[in-house]
C-alpha cells in the first residue's frame, strides 16, 4: 500500500533567543503514491523540520499537509499517535533503537504498540530481519551490533506495520560509505517490495541520485535539484 503526500504553503519558524529563524517559507510538495523522493540540502536547511511536519511530529505555523487525503494539521492531538502508527515509518540518522531490547524485540515494538500479541509481532519481525539478512543477529542487543546492522534493524522496525509512507532522515549519515550503500540498497529493495512511498532527506548526492526524484531545499522552499540525475 502506498499513499500520496501533498503539502501546500508550509511555514515553520523557530525562536533562537530574540531572533526568529524562518526555516520553511511557503513550501509546496507533491509525492505520488509509491514514489521515492530525495530531499537534499545543507545542514540546517530544514530537511529534518520538513520530515517532522510530514510525520505529524510537529505542527506547521502555516499551510496544509495531506497524507492519503487526510489533512494532518486538522487531526486532534490524541489522534496523531494513531495516525503515525497507521501511516508512517521513521528512520533516523542515528539508529534510535531501544538499548534494553534485542534486535527482534525492537522490530516487534510497533506491532506490540499496535496491539499485536507477542507471537504475531515476533513472526513479522523475524521475517523482516530475514529480509535484511539479520536472522543471526536477531537476539543481539543494539550495543552488540555494528552501525550498519543497527540502521538495518531500525529500517526493519520502521517497516514492521508496513506503513504506506516511509520518512528517512539522513538514514546513512552516520555510516561509513560501504555500510551506507548497503543500508540504502536494502531501503530501496524493501520499499520496492512493499510498495511504500518514501521521502529521504540526505546530503549524500549518490544516495539522492538513487531516488526517483531529487528536490533541493533552499531558503525554505523545494525546487528540483539541478545536476543530480535520478537513477
Amino acid at each position: 500500500m502506498s499513499v500520496a503526500v501533498r503539502a501546500r504553503g508550509l511555514d515553520k519558524a523557530y525562536r533562537d533567543g530574540e531572533a526568529r529563524v524562518e526555516v520553511l517559507r511557503g513550501l509546496d510538495l507533491d509525492v505520488g503514491p509509491g514514489e521515492i523522493v530525495a530531499v537534499v540540502g545543507p545542514s540546517g536547511s530544514g530537511k529534518s523540520t520538513l520530515l517532522h511536519l510530514l510525520g505529524a511530529l510537529d505542527r506547521p505555523d502555516g499551510g496544509e499537509i495531506a497524507i492519503d487525503g487526510t489533512d494532518v494539521g486538522r487531526l486532534p492531538a490524541d489522534a496523531l499517535a494513531d495516525f503515525r502508527r497507521r501511516y508512517l515509518g521513521f528512520v533516523f540518522q542515528f539508529h534510535e533503537l531501544l538499548p534494553d531490547f534485542t534486535a527482534v524485540e525492537n522490530v516487534m515494538m510497533p506491532g506490540r504498540i499496535a496491539g499485536w500479541d507477542r507471537a504475531r509481532a515476533n513472526r513479522r519481525a523475524a521475517a523482516l530481519l530475514a529480509e535484511a539478512g539479520l536472522e543471526a543477529r536477531s537476539d543481539h542487543y543494539p550495543n552488540e551490533l555494528s552501525g550498519g546492522e543497527r540502521q538495518r534493524v531500525a529500517l526493519c522496525r520502521a517497516l514492521c506495520l508496513e506503513p504506506p509512507l516511509l520518512l528517512a532522515d539522513e538514514p546513512t549519515g552516520n555510516l561509513d560509505p560501504a555500510s551506507g550503500e548497503r543500508m540504502f540498497g536494502l531501503l530501496l529493495d524493501l520499499r520496492r517490495r512493499h510498495g511504500t512511498t518514501a521521502l529521504v532527506a540526505t546530503h549524500n548526492m549518490a544516495i539522492a541520485a538513487a531516488c526517483e526524484r531529487v528536490l533541493r531545499l533552499d531558503h525554505g522552499r523545494l525546487e528540483p535539484a539541478d545536476g543530480i540525475e535520478p537513477s
Partner: protein, 402 residues
C-alpha cells in the same frame, strides 16, 4: 495470509508491552548508579516507613488492647437505671427474663462519701454490691459479702481485716440541728487490689449498707453477659423493650471518652508515621523524573511508533508501582516479623510497678495491614503519576531534538 492481515485473536494472558518496558527499565536502571541510588532510596524509604508503621500500630494495638481490657474488666457490661427506684423489683424481673439464662443480674448503688478517721477523712466512691464481691475488684483474700477497701487506702490508715471503719455519705440525714452527713460503722472484711488506672479511692460495701448510706436514688441493675458484643446486643434489646421505664447504658457508653481517645490516638499515630512512607513516595517522583529525563529520546521514538501519552505514562506508573510494591512487601514483612519477635521475646520492657504492664505487647491486626497497603499504594501511585506525567508532557519532536 501475511502476518499483517491476521485477524485479532482472543489471546492468552501475556504482559502488555508497557509492563515489558517497565520491567526492562527496572533491570537496566542498575547500570546507572545514580538512578539505582534514587530507586533504592524510594524503595527503601517506603519499606522503612511501612515497617515503622506496622510496628507502631502493633505496639499501639497491644497497649490499647491491654488498657481496654483492664478498663472494661472494671466496668459494668450493661447498667439499667430505673426511672422509678420503687419499681426496681419488677424491672429486675423483666430484665432477668429478657436477658435469659446464663446472664447475671445484680443490684448496685453508687455514690460519693468519705472514710472518716480520727482527725480527718478521705473522699471515696461507695459501691454497694449484691452477693459476693464483684469480680471487677480482685480481692487479695475472701470474696464473701462485707466491706472491702483498696489495699492502698488500708495501708495508708493501717487497717486490717476485722478493724472498724466509719463511712460517711454525701446523703444527709435531717437532725434537730439540721442536715448532717449520714455515718455508719462497719467492720472491714478485707482488701482488694487498687485498680492501677484509678485515681480516686473506692470502698465496696454490701448492698444493704450501701442503700442505707446512699439511698434508693442511685440504685441500678448491673447485667453481666460474659461477652462484650453480647452486652451491646443485650443493651439494645433492653433499651427497646424497657422503653421509658429505665435508662440503659452499656460499657460502650460508659467508656465512650476513653474509646474515642484510643481511636484518635491510633489515627494520629498512623498519620505521623505515615509521613515516612510519604517521604519515600516523594523520592519516587525524583527517581521517575530522572528516568524520564534519561529516556527522553526513547520516549520520542516510541511516540513516532504511535505510542500514546497515556500508554507512556503507564510505563512509568508501572515502574513506580513495582518499586513501591517491592518496598511495601519488604517493609510489611519486616514490620510483621519484628512485631512477632518483639512480642514473643518481650523485648520492650517497662519499669515494674509504674505501669499497667511489665512489657509492651505487639499485636498486628489484619485490618491495619489492609489500610497500610491501600494508603501506601495510593500515595506511591499518586507520586508515580506526577513523575510519569513528565513522559506524557514530552512531545516526540522535542524528545528527538534533545
Amino acid at each position: 495470509m501475511s502476518v499483517l492481515d491476521e485477524p485479532r485473536r482472543p489471546r492468552r494472558f501475556e504482559l502488555p508491552w508497557t509492563a515489558g518496558l517497565a520491567l526492562r527499565y527496572l533491570r537496566s536502571g542498575r547500570k546507572d548508579a545514580y538512578v539505582s541510588f534514587l530507586s533504592a532510596v524510594a524503595c527503601g524509604g517506603i519499606a522503612l516507613g511501612v515497617a515503622a508503621l506496622v510496628l507502631a500500630l502493633a505496639a499501639l494495638n497491644g497497649l490499647q488492647q491491654a488498657l481496654r481490657d483492664e478498663v472494661l474488666r472494671r466496668t459494668s457490661e450493661v447498667e439499667v437505671h430505673p426511672v422509678d427506684p420503687a419499681a426496681t423489683a419488677g424491672l429486675e424481673e423483666r430484665v432477668r427474663r429478657l436477658a435469659g439464662d446464663g446472664v447475671a443480674v445484680h443490684r448496685q448503688v453508687r455514690g460519693a462519701g468519705w472514710i472518716v478517721r480520727a482527725g480527718g477523712g478521705r473522699a471515696v466512691e461507695i459501691h454497694g454490691y449484691e452477693g459476693a464481691l464483684p469480680a471487677s475488684l480482685p480481692a487479695t483474700a475472701s470474696r464473701a459479702s462485707g466491706t472491702y477497701l483498696s489495699d492502698r487506702l488500708a495501708r495508708y490508715y493501717g487497717l486490717e481485716a476485722g478493724d472498724l471503719l466509719q463511712i460517711a455519705s454525701t446523703r444527709p440525714t435531717l437532725s434537730p440541728l439540721g442536715p448532717v452527713p449520714r455515718m455508719r460503722r462497719t467492720r472491714l472484711a478485707g482488701t482488694f487490689e487498687h485498680p492501677v488506672l484509678r485515681e480516686g479511692e473506692l470502698v465496696a460495701v454490701p448492698l444493704d449498707l450501701g442503700r442505707d448510706l446512699l439511698g434508693e436514688g442511685s440504685l441500678r441493675l448491673v447485667v453481666s453477659t460474659g461477652s462484650l458484643d453480647g452486652a451491646v446486643a443485650l443493651g439494645e434489646r433492653l433499651e427497646r423493650e424497657l422503653g421509658g421505664e429505665a435508662r440503659v447504658v452499656t460499657w460502650r457508653e460508659l467508656n465512650a471518652p476513653l474509646l474515642l481517645a484510643l481511636r484518635l490516638e491510633k489515627r494520629l499515630m498512623f498519620v505521623a508515621v505515615f509521613l515516612v512512607v510519604l517521604v519515600g513516595s516523594l523520592a519516587l517522583v525524583s527517581d521517575l523524573s530522572l528516568i524520564v529525563a534519561n529516556r527522553r529520546r526513547e520516549i520520542g521514538i516510541l511516540g513516532t511508533m504511535g505510542a500514546r501519552g497515556p500508554r507512556l505514562r503507564r510505563v512509568f506508573l508501572l515502574l513506580g508501582g513495582i518499586l513501591a510494591s517491592l518496598g511495601l512487601v519488604i517493609g510489611g514483612l519486616l514490620g510483621v516479623v519484628a512485631a512477632i519477635l518483639l512480642d514473643r521475646f518481650r523485648a520492650v520492657q517497662l519499669p515494674g510497678g509504674s505501669y499497667l504492664l511489665d512489657h509492651v505487647p505487639f499485636v498486628t491486626e489484619p485490618l491495619d495491614l489492609v489500610w497500610v497497603v491501600i494508603l501506601t499504594l495510593a500515595t506511591a501511585l499518586i507520586c508515580s503519576w506526577i513523575g510519569a506525567s513528565k513522559a506524557t508532557a514530552l512531545a516526540p519532536v522535542e524528545a528527538l531534538r534533545s
